[in-house]
């Protein structure tokens, strides 16, 4: 519980109102993930991982005088952003090679490769009538035609109670899409996050959350937001690690000042894994058994160098089928180094899904078979932020390399790689311009196909 707020609620309200007015006047770009609780994240250009403090603690102050620079957040804050883009995918916008009539169509290629936006939506998943089995991303249905896109309209609502250590957060996303040939326009509303969080012990970084919240696996979920993501498109592994999940989680971090270090543990019990919602339903447990996941992290926070290392694991029953015998197991390792404007990050991910039963259920519908599945690989990214004063805040060139090996039981293993290169420009602290090239490569097992992507994104945040 925040002591000064408790003792002086009227003063807190006054300060909150002043802070709100200041925030509104500044138009500062900010999209609270709920993980970064109170302090606005630093500009992404200066720290490509602006949400790096996964569970930023309540900053406690003594007495009535706030330290210089303390940012007061009003009880209720409304943040959000619009992500507008233009994309052009090669070929027909899919990874399906012409003339390939294997069934299911989505087992022998990487359908997630031609991504066009920060949600990982691809240009197309049109199989030309062939059966698929639920290993598909969401699609913007532009095929190989260049198109403007309204990728996301995102609205966050955060309420920090004044007299109790409770915070509530809701993130709603509107996704205006053309539904495909004959399907008309559709604009689904996603409740991306909705949770309450309790600070258990005053002065400790120990938080309990319940609801629908960010993944605890790995680090890429920290960039789910278009604002925070350095580039535009997620990695080839985001499908496994960045989906939000419904359940409970606990976070604890122990600072070790003498070592300039901290240890953190983030654990969750949720309905499903952290696969993206297109691959599994998140809003109900199909087996009655929770999936447990966690990440153990170490941070070294020197004045000029920041190093963060983590190991993640997940185990439980697959939530895309009904059998408690169909298990999923994942583990991963991640690392981030930030020094002098250069940010290096990377992650290794391993996924092992046993065969399920009773058909396959995904966020996109039902499919025949919950196949045994494996995936492994890594991504590594480098970004260098050049910062400026004035309207031009930062320019960040970045590049990412990733390699994914995956196979469904009985199908030829496929190995794909991708090189992503792009540029991020920040203006006035509230406008972000990004441009990106994706060079997709089918290295083995999957037929080579024209599925490179050029995409861009303009993110305006409020």
């Amino acid at each position: 519980m925040n002591r000064w707020r408790c003792r002086h609620p009227r003063l807190a309200l006054l300060l909150a109102a002043l802070a709100a007015a200041r925030a509104a006047g500044s138009g500062q770009a900010r999209a609270d993930t709920g993980a970064a609780a109170t302090a606005p994240p630093p500009p992404p250009a200066r720290d490509p991982d602006p949400n790096a403090d996964e569970e930023d603690p309540e900053r406690e102050t003594e007495g009535f005088v706030l330290p210089p620079g303390t940012n007061i957040v009003p009880p209720l804050t409304l943040n959000g952003y619009v992500d507008f883009g233009f994309a052009d995918a090669g070929g027909n916008g899919t990874s399906f090679p012409p003339g390939d009539n294997r069934v299911p169509a989505d087992y022998g290629v990487d359908t997630f490769a031609p991504a066009v936006n920060s949600r990982g939506d691809v240009a197309s998943i049109d199989t030309d009538g062939r059966v698929t089995n639920g290993f598909l991303p969401r699609s913007v249905n532009i095929a190989g035609r260049p198109s403007f896109l309204l990728n996301v309209v995102n609205q966050d609502l955060r309420y920090q109670a004044q007299n109790v250590p409770v915070m509530a957060f809701v993130r709603l996303q509107l996704l205006p899409r053309w539904g495909g040939d004959g399907q008309g326009n559709v604009t689904p509303v996603f409740v991306e996050q909705a949770f309450g969080r309790v600070t258990i012990i005053e002065g400790r970084e120990l938080f309990l959350s319940g609801g629908k919240f960010d993944s605890v696996f790995g680090i890429e979920y920290l960039e789910n937001s278009s604002v925070f993501r350095t580039g535009i498109t997620p990695s080839l592994f985001a499908r496994y690690t960045t989906g939000t999940a419904l359940g409970v989680k606990a976070f604890y971090r122990q600072q070790i000042p003498v070592m300039w270090s901290a240890l953190s543990l983030n654990v969750a019990a949720t309905n499903g894994s952290n696969f993206v919602e297109a691959l599994q339903p998140t809003d109900a447990s199909l087996t009655g058994v929770p999936v447990v996941s966690g990440r153990l992290g170490y941070e070294l926070n020197l004045p000029s160098v920041q190093v963060k290392l983590g190991g993640s694991a997940l185990k439980g029953t697959r939530n895309d089928q009904f059998s408690r015998q169909g298990l999923i197991e994942m583990f991963g390792a991640d690392a981030r180094i930030t020094v002098a404007g250069l940010s290096l990050s990377g992650e290794y991910v391993y996924v092992d899904e046993e065969e399920g039963a009773g058909g396959k259920q995904t966020g996109a519908g039902g499919y025949p078979i919950a196949s045994e599945f494996y995936a492994k690989g890594f991504w590594a990214q480098a970004a260098y932020a050049l910062t400026f004063n004035g309207p031009l805040r930062a320019i960040t060139p970045y590049a990412r390399y990733e390699r994914r090996n995956a196979w469904f039981e009985g199908f030829r293993p496929i190995t794909v790689a991708r090189v992503t290169a792009g540029l991020r420009v920040e203006l006035w602290g509230s406008l972000i311009l990004k441009g990106e090239f994706l060079f997709n490569q089918e290295l083995a097992g999957a037929p080579s196909v024209e599925n490179n992507v050029i995409t861009s994104s303009v993110v305006y945040a409020w």
Partner: protein, 400 residues
């Protein structure tokens, strides 16, 4: 992080959290889809366990029905007697599925050196030893999406290409070979030691030859791996282009009600339907070659307590009547009549009647079964099979 370390972390976290949750005993019914190819059926034969045991087909299928073991450890594919459209038939059953609502055709590539739309097989690519290059396919028997029901394609190799190097479908796509669709075909992959019976292959009752197209080959290619297969004929099933879903027909397992009301199979030859249940679709069999049967779902056809299968050895007088009418008694062996057996004093056992076989109400065609038994006595199971007919309308099916 090493895998062992990661697993330790996984187990630690799982243990802590799951121990607090409790109540996680599995109470759900395991209905995971199953596929038994000849590899699996041979294993089941060795183990002596049935395949495709499901809630609605609790006995499953005895692998001894599908394969005939030999003393040297090999096995041969059995030809199973059946009836269809009121006539003796026979089929083989190289694959069985459980809990599949539908199965799909997969592409099977035959390699050519040049395209001739009128006679494509004249340009079959040859290997260095002068034989036809083995076919190539991509979805192998370890996948639940494997299907012995194929759409054959012709793939035209570049001029001068070595056909022996084309051992995966991936290469066909990578090189963007010209590909032309052919017709539906049934091929079943097999272990090398599962063979066809010695020629001539005959109907088990009539002892007359079955289809000549039932052959075996030693090599096809899937993902650069050689695999043997049986050729069970072309155009013996239909499919929908939308989704490439194979049409199924009923394969009736004649049964009586057991003490608990559940069907008890009579053990008689099954009856192959020719269209969806109760569709009243005429059999599509131009020139005596049925375009159905290669994919079927087993239905229990529950007959009355008086139903019985005819055995000419048990009813020599009835057999003599058949012979007198110019009918082969073996063509009636196993044929089930609803009134074959006397249960109560008022019943008339048609096998003993002087006007046999007209005295019997036979259950030897889809129409007769559906007319006689009605919807309440026709019960679908979760079991489907690759069941290409090799004998139809009382004779071996000719040609391809």
């Amino acid at each position: 992080m090493g895998r062992s370390t990661a697993r330790a972390v996984t187990l630690l976290i799982s243990g802590v959290l799951l121990s607090g949750i409790g109540g996680c005993a599995d109470t759900s019914v395991d209905e995971r889809p199953g596929l038994w190819t000849l590899f699996d059926i041979r294993d089941a034969l060795n183990a002596g366990t049935p395949v495709a045991v499901t809630p609605r087909y609790p006995t499953g299928i005895n692998p001894l029905e599908i394969l005939t073991p030999a003393a040297d450890g090999t096995a041969t594919l059995s030809v199973l007697p059946a009836f269809s459209e009121g006539q003796p038939a026979a089929y083989v059953m190289p694959e069985v599925w459980a809990h599949f609502d539908e199965v799909w055709i997969q592409p099977w590539y035959v390699l050519l050196t040049a395209w001739d739309g009128k006679s494509p097989n004249q340009n079959r690519a040859k290997t260095s030893d002068g034989v036809n290059a083995p076919p190539v396919f991509d979805v192998g028997p370890r996948s639940l999406f494997y299907s012995p029901l194929w759409l054959r394609y012709y793939a035209v190799l570049p001029e001068g290409a070595d056909a022996g190097e084309y051992t995966s479908a991936e290469r066909i796509f990578d090189e963007q070979l010209a590909v032309y669709p052919n017709v539906a075909w049934t091929y079943s992959v097999r272990p090398p030691d599962v063979r066809l019976p010695a020629a001539p292959i005959v109907h088990p009752y009539l002892q007359t030859p079955v289809a000549s197209f039932l052959t075996e080959a030693s090599t096809s290619w899937v993902d650069d791996e050689s695999i043997a297969y049986f050729d069970e004929g072309s155009a013996n099933f239909t499919f929908r282009w939308e989704g490439l879903v194979v049409d199924e027909v009923p394969l009736y397992e004649l049964a009586r009600r057991g003490p608990d009301g559940a069907p008890l199979a009579l053990g008689a030859p099954r009856v192959m339907g020719s269209g969806p249940p109760f569709a009243r679709r005429p059999a599509d069999a131009p020139n005596g070659r049925p375009r159905f049967g290669a994919y079927s779902r087993i239905y229990f056809a529950v007959a009355p307590a008086t139903a019985a299968a005819f055995d000419p050895d048990a009813y020599p007088d009835a057999a003599a009547l058949l012979t007198a009418q110019g009918l082969n008694p073996q063509s009636y062996r196993g044929r089930v009549a609803t009134n074959g057996m006397k249960v109560s004093d008022t019943d008339v056992a048609c096998f003993a009647a002087t006007d046999f076989p007209a005295s019997c109400t036979w259950l030897d065609s889809q129409a007769r079964i559906e007319d006689s038994l009605g919807t309440v006595n026709i019960l679908p199971t979760e079991v489907t099979a690759c069941s290409p007919l090799v004998f139809y309308a009382g004779k071996g099916i000719g040609g391809r």
